[in-house]
Symmetry: C2
Subunit: 230 residues, 2 copies
DNA sequence: GGTTGTGAAGTAATTCACAGCT
DNA sequence: AGCTGTGAATTACTTCACAACC
């Protein structure tokens, strides 16, 4: 009888806003590093490439943290955004697949920075087991369930070939992981309640190719007929 | 005097649709590999994780390629989507930055598949120059302009550390590249007419952390007070 | 004077629901 | 009978423009 689960709709922040908060956060950290104390929506918007009204509306969803006539205090805003994003606590991440991509991810500075901790690197390939990558020893995929439980992993990163991705995902989910970041070029199937985000190189390239083609067709030629293939 | 460039707005396909076409395309190729000849919007929607009405509307922007009562012919739809995305021609790609990420990208199968050709791998670090990666010899960054001109590069991929990204981007743009795919965690500045897409691991993690925190706050506790930190 | 926060207006994307074709 | 293609309705997001405040 339960109606078709209208999702407990975020009593809060629009998804589009959530996706921009990390961008603001990074820009703010840059300002902080340079010792800048306050910033206006106009300035912060410019450095992050958004419209200033949008930035103000985004921030207004978190609360009223600016000062009229002055702007936003950089450190305070960093704290508020971090808190909203859940970065004031540490999240354990497990990376499965230690090929070039997995290594790139493991060595990526962004992990080390506040908020994330790599709990384990796992792979099925015996030839990389025991390798040390980013200070961690690569473990066997069979230990996935143990690692998730023991290290309290909440985010699983899939950097395996496409063919293994769904299986790894299933194991993550079965072990209790509810957030997955997928680099394999497949659509993952997960039960409700599990969030999946995907990063897909070839999709990005194809989107660029589309626009590139548009530029070639449309502008350069100034051909009013455009579309026609012949 | 030119007004603030209201962008020659695509006389066509919504951006949200463009971003999904590659997903449909991949699913269709999977069906084709399995010898499946036709597919309904319902079925294709299910395997790509979208609503079937959305899928039909997306496809309707390309033309009327289905058959009522039957569905879509798989091969024909593959061809039409490929054509729309500009994949019936080959695009030359240059990758700058041959660390783990650059290597992962170079070896990524998605490139090889129809539509993209890696024209060059470039790096500033003398220690990797001349290395062979994915069958290509790594060249020096100073040859960027030559390579872009000679190989007719239309998409530049930036896989360098953050600090070098803007400079590499400027050189790409100066050399005539109008599409950039950026993996470095910085907001790139480009003139109008140049498309930039970014892929940013830490943004994805932070978005997941946000939702993870929501799940922890909201559901598990069933605490009606939620928000308050103490 | 300067800048935020936000209703109201405008634009884009999604979903519904069904006419129209096979 | 089955499935597409699409107007109409809905929902989400963006931008404008200005009152409120420092």
């Amino acid at each position: 009888m339960t109606p078709p689960a209208p999702r407990p709709r975020d009593r809060g922040i629009p998804e589009a806003t959530v996706a921009r908060l990390p961008v603001y956060l990074r820009a703010l950290q840059g300002l902080d590093d340079r010792g800048i104390l306050t910033v206006s929506s106009e300035h912060l918007a410019e450095t992050t490439g958004v419209n200033s009204a949008k930035l103000r509306k985004d921030l207004s969803h978190l609360g009223s943290y600016g000062t009229r006539g002055v702007g936003y205090e950089v450190e305070y805003l960093i704290y508020q955004i971090s808190r909203e994003l859940g970065l004031t606590q540490d999240w354990s991440v497990a990376i499965v697949g230690v090929g070039n991509l997995g290594r790139a991810l493991a060595n990526y500075g962004g992990f080390g920075t506040r908020g994330f901790r790599i709990a384990a690197l796992l792979d099925a390939d015996a030839s990389v087991l025991g390798d040390t990558v980013a200070g961690l020893s690569v473990g066997h995929i069979d230990t996935l369930e143990d690692v998730v439980a023991k290290e309290n992993v909440s985010i699983g990163v899939i950097a395996t070939p496409a063919v293994s991705a769904q299986e790894v995902c299933d194991r993550f989910v079965e072990a209790g992981v509810t957030s997955v970041l997928n680099f394999a070029p497949v659509v993952l199937n997960v039960p409700p309640g599990v969030d999946v985000r995907k990063v897909d190189l070839s999709i990005e390239l194809q989107i660029l190719a589309f626009h590139e083609q548009r530029k070639a067709d449309g502008y350069a030629g100034l051909d009013p007929f455009g579309k026609g293939p012949a």
